[in-house]
Subunit: 190 residues, 4 copies
DNA sequence: TATGAATGAGGGTTCATTCAT
DNA sequence: GATGAATGAACCCTCATTCAT
């Protein structure tokens, strides 16, 4: 018996992701995914039981990878301000570099494929960010508002910046990124 | 002879909108829209040549209505701060009251129905908001950053707040709304 | 009560006929017929109970008109040869001048609208032609073959000539018409 | 892996043909074709991109097959009269045996599916018949008229005979066939 | 009678999924 | 496991017919 090829699963993920950016969620056809991944249609069903499972597994995968990215570079002994900066830049960086991801997630949340269980499984992935902000509050550096409010505010701003950049309405060079970070910081700082 | 019933067009709009929130864009079937609007399938085609046209007209309609809402209550002689407040609250209010609208717009931008021409037709609708911020900059009250950056930041934050409220992750009472407005204000003020 | 307008019925007939030539039988939509006849869709149903009836009445009408045309100019005292000539030319003339009619009839015979009763009602219309050939046989001028065979042969040839003319594959001037008549005559003459 | 089954394409052709005879061109529904061919609806689309393509490919196929039939039995060294006889009988035979073909072709020429390119592709298929008549003219056996006129006359007559036979208005036994051939021959012979 | 908006059954086509190889 | 032909439910849209005016 041959063994499942992890490269193929990854290729299918990649294909699905790039297709969502290209043709939207409603244009995501299994046959197109297969062609883009250079496998046969039926092969997709070797790795996923059905389209829903493919989409939900892809969601999970994306969330895990992004969560890892957000905390990249965080180390013991860094000041709160430094840690905030790192996370903020990580988040922006990923949003800018992976426009497919945002496209996918936006569509996923509104789609009939959304699975409550899968959703819950990813909630904890943002815990490090919540903790970070609580840490800032404990140090008296961040406004004493519900962290959910702060996270919604910050992530909403960041995602929108990436969207506008992607659609060409703004052009984020290093200066503008720093300006945006300043906006974020000014808003939450005590 | 019966004459075209404007209520029907509106009913179809409403039905389409609420279905997008319910089942997503990819679940938006004309037959379902018709049923929800309490008309026959064919009737939809009396008012719209095809699905694409329905969706684009709905987009235009939503944009126009929201643009009108944003500037509601603005009057001559108000201070910049007051005007900012009004627009900010108007925006939040509409986002909270019309979750279908956000659902529709998010999906529209990613859909194959997106029409460049239709898009352009709505660009000017945000001009009043851009002007307002420029007014604040002229008065030395708002940071001298590209207004696009400011608008992306503010609207991204507001939309995300509405999303989190709608999904139950936060609960925006009057106090929290005021807090959020403070976040916004602190971020852009000079 | 207003009275049915015979001009409208005729206009509908004309519209239907010209549309069949233009778009074929399967492209014959009641709404298009109505538009072409400059009446409202519903008006068609004032004059005909349904599409089938419209088509069958049109068929009958065409058959009657053409049968009248075929014997136009026939008079007492003409020789058989002259009478054959007249009928042959009449038939060709009508086929050439009314390409819509041929288009309609060909499609009608193959269509699900074909009605056995309507068909029978037109059989007698060709009797004069059958009689004419029998007359020729009685005079020893025409081959003693079943007249149906002769009529099929002659009408098939004539219709095809008109078709080729209409499609541009031949160009029937007076000389060629006379040549074709000679072909016909040589074939049936004893 | 299954491979495309050529029998299926042929089965679809057959099904389409017999349906045209049965219910006419406008009654030709892909779903009915599929059922008659004993395949699923979608399978038709494995072999043809759409209805138009099915119809045009069928047209081409029929034309090719009939053109082959017409010259069956022709051999070197046969006299012109023998060759004319063979082709004339071949043509009649096919018309009698394949009434679906005539039904299909008549409708095709009047249909919106008619494709100019496909049409041209079949024009050369009749060349052998044109050549045959020219040969007869060269030998001084056939009237010196445009061969198009002769072909229109002969084929029109033959097709109509087959139609009348099929509709029961005549009954072509061997004697009557010979009579009809004599009609044809008398008409074109010098 | 005349109109054209409204209806809904039905057709062409797509595509998630299955299955024979 | 891999393939892609085969399947058929379901979608968009059309159009004969009806109906309110």
């Amino acid at each position: 018996m041959r063994i499942k090829d992890p490269n193929k699963k990854e290729a299918i993920f990649r294909a699905a992701l790039s297709l969502v950016l290209e043709v939207g969620f409603s244009g995501l056809k299994i046959s197109k995914v297969a062609r883009a991944a250079k496998v046969a249609t039926g092969t997709v069903y070797v790795y996923f039981n059905n389209k829903e499972e493919l989409i939900n597994q892809l969601y999970l995968e994306l969330k895990k990878r992004s969560a890892q990215d957000y905390v990249k570079g965080l180390e013991e002994g860094q000041s709160f301000e430094d840690r905030f900066d790192i996370v903020w830049y990580n988040y922006l960086q990923r949003a800018l570099e992976q426009p497919e991801e945002a496209a996918f997630l936006e569509q996923y949340y509104r789609s009939p494929y959304l699975d409550e269980g899968t959703l819950e499984a990813t909630e904890e992935l943002l815990l490090p960010i919540f903790s970070l902000l609580e840490e800032g509050q404990d140090q008296g550096k961040v406004k004493n508002l519900p962290v959910e409010l702060l996270v919604a505010h910050l992530s909403g701003s960041l995602n929108e910046l990436a969207r506008w950049q992607h659609s060409g309405k703004i052009s984020l060079g290093n200066t503008l990124k720093a300006d945006a970070r300043q906006l974020a910081w000014d808003s939450i700082k005590k």
